[in-house]
């Protein structure tokens, strides 16, 4: 059932079947049939790469709309720390957080500080837990989904620690419940997100029933109104300073920089992530403790719903870390104590969600694999995509799975046509000779 909702939707009115999405999809989850792209939900990992390339803007990231929040008595915006890198180099995080309160949210709450707490919790987990190495960061929802769909062997390597946005939302809600005497469900926590994948992890958190967050709004949607507020503001800030190494989380290496453990690596971009996952599956990399993993090649500052160029944004994050990162925002011993009380633990299991096999019955699956190979051998193997499948391999797989006709392959059709016209040509020649001799 969870497969029915993905972080993107294809607007078939706008789609002209130009195949950019199909070619870029890292899990071959898109087919183009009758000039329209269709999404194979079971293969999609919510990475959002298709959103970036669609020339018709027909791939719609799923986020909430402001009207969804009218049911709450009190709303709190929780901006991804990426948000702090979107507005000029001299606009500090606390000014940005304050500005969020002027565009309609009742309050705004920093997430970077929770990133610092989570980093301390990860360190504790690494020190005290002997589970199989390397441990994989579960904070990019597309990475978690990639493991569910393609690498179910590695589910136990995903570290069972709550994400900073969840920790922050829980804190924010509890504070306001106490302060204002509200019930939990009367408070809406909205994540200002750099990517559509976060929507999925809020709607269907992989290890628990409900998220502490109630929706997402994209950075790009909120950006214009915030720029307006910022241009009028005279540097008003919220009372508390925003500081700590957690501010560096949205860039490649940001998580590892918060850890004391050695033998940690940071990887970004699905190509490289896949290569590393293949190696772990082969029993390698056991000497690595922790892998920070991002599906976007420039990590979260390069999310599909951001505004600023990811490299400029990265520079700004580094600048902010230099300025505000050296003073921790959390008391290490207090966080350790909370860790002991399972404040950061996620106890639920993540279930595998592999793509359906060629057949549920192994004998029939093997038979279909042979058929697939036979079909594949006939194909041109140039992955032109003209058939509407991203590669000759997927075309062969679709053919045996749901009977896509071989005639869809333009090369096979051409060959047939040539044979046909060739025969016709021979017949005409034969007859014309007969005519001449008589």
């Amino acid at each position: 059932m969870r497969n029915d909702f993905r972080s993107i939707r294809i607007d078939t009115e706008k789609c002209e079947g130009r195949m950019a999405c199909m070619r870029v999809c890292p899990t071959q989850a898109i087919r183009v049939r009758g000039s329209k792209a269709t999404l194979l939900n079971d293969r999609c990992i919510d990475c959002g790469e298709c959103v970036r390339v669609c020339p018709n803007h027909a791939i719609i990231p799923q986020t909430s709309s402001f009207s969804d929040f009218s049911k709450f008595k009190y709303t709190i915006a929780l901006p991804s720390p990426v948000f702090y890198s979107q507005f000029g180099k001299d606009v500090s995080p606390s000014v940005i957080l304050n500005a969020l309160k002027k565009i309609g949210f009742d309050d705004a709450y920093d997430v970077a500080c929770a990133s610092e707490s989570v980093s301390i919790a990860i360190q504790e987990y690494l020190d005290s837990n002997k589970s199989p190495r390397p441990l994989i960061a579960p904070f990019c929802p597309a990475i978690v989904r990639l493991v569910q769909v393609r690498y179910p062997n590695l589910l136990d390597n995903l570290i069972p620690i709550e994400s900073p946005m969840e920790i922050a939302a829980r804190e924010a809600k509890h504070l306001k419940m106490k302060e204002l005497g509200l019930k939990e469900k009367e408070i809406g926590c909205i994540y200002i997100t750099p990517c559509p994948a976060k929507t999925i992890s809020i709607k269907y958190p992989p290890r628990k029933k409900h998220s502490f967050l109630d929706g997402t709004i994209s950075i790009s949607e909120i950006y214009p109104s915030l720029v307006q507020v910022l241009s009028k503001s005279n540097g008003d800030t919220i009372k508390t300073d925003i500081r700590g190494l957690g501010l560096g989380w949205p860039i490649v290496g940001g998580q590892v920089a918060c850890l004391k453990a050695e033998d940690c690596i940071s990887i970004a971009g699905l190509n490289d992530v896949t290569r590393i996952f293949e190696e772990i599956e082969n029993g390698k990399l056991k000497d690595i403790q922790y892998i920070e993993c991002h599906s976007c090649p420039t990590a979260c500052v390069g999310g599909q719903l951001t505004v600023e160029n990811p490299y400029i944004a990265r520079g700004r994050v580094l600048r902010v870390v230099k300025k505000f990162g050296s003073v921790p925002c959390q008391d290490r011993d207090k966080i350790r104590e909370l860790y002991q009380k399972n404040f950061f633990s996620l106890l639920g299991k993540i279930s595998p969600s592999p793509v359906a096999p060629l057949d549920e019955d192994i004998s029939r699956a093997i038979q279909k694999m042979r058929q697939k190979q036979e079909i594949y051998d006939l194909l041109p193997k140039i992955d032109c995509g003209a058939c509407g499948a991203p590669s000759c391999q997927t075309f062969a797989e679709d053919s045996v799975k749901d009977g896509t006709s071989m005639g869809e392959c333009i090369f096979i059709s051409m060959k047939k046509f040539e044979t046909l016209t060739g025969n016709l040509h021979d017949t005409v020649l034969k007859h014309s000779r007969k005519v001449r001799t008589t």
């Binding site: 082969n282 359906a356 004998s363």
Partner: protein, 141 residues
């Protein structure tokens, strides 16, 4: 054996660039067949170690991969120096890897024992100066 699916992979010795390609393809096939992920992991480790042995030590090899409804069979026949003392090579921690190979993270001396540990049946034949033949069987149920 009309109930089997088989593939033959050529592995080039010394070619680190393509190393691991056959095991990656094998994994992909097993996933499409819906084989249990615990079994896939065992096959992955065994196939990868066998492939790496060829890359590190032999000239070239043929890897025959076959899957039946009951079993996965991998036969690797290489042309290379062979192993003089097979029982020694089967000991955990024994390795003839050069310092360069160790630099790259290989040569922990666990290759052959690791393959055996992950197989249900494992056979090795070696002729010094000619090559090695490995026969790996992993049950599906």
């Amino acid at each position: 054996m009309d109930k089997a699916f088989s593939q033959i992979y050529k592995i080039q010795g010394g070619n680190i660039y393509n190393a691991g390609k056959a095991s990656t393809e094998i994994k992909s096939i097993l996933k499409q067949l819906g084989i249990n992920s615990f079994i896939i992991r065992r096959v992955a480790i065994a196939a990868y170690e066998a492939e790496m042995n060829v890359v590190m030590y032999a000239k070239h090899a043929t890897m025959t991969f076959e899957v039946t409804p009951k079993q996965i069979n991998i036969i690797v026949e290489d042309e290379g120096p062979g192993i003089a003392d097979v029982s020694l090579a089967m000991q955990e921690g024994y390795s003839t890897a050069t310092p360069e190979m160790r630099e790259m993270g290989f040569g922990a001396g666990m290759g052959l024992p690791n393959i055996k540990r992950n197989s249900d049946s494992f056979k090795i034949e070696s002729v010094v100066g000619k090559g090695i033949k490995l026969e790996i069987k992993i049950n599906i149920n």
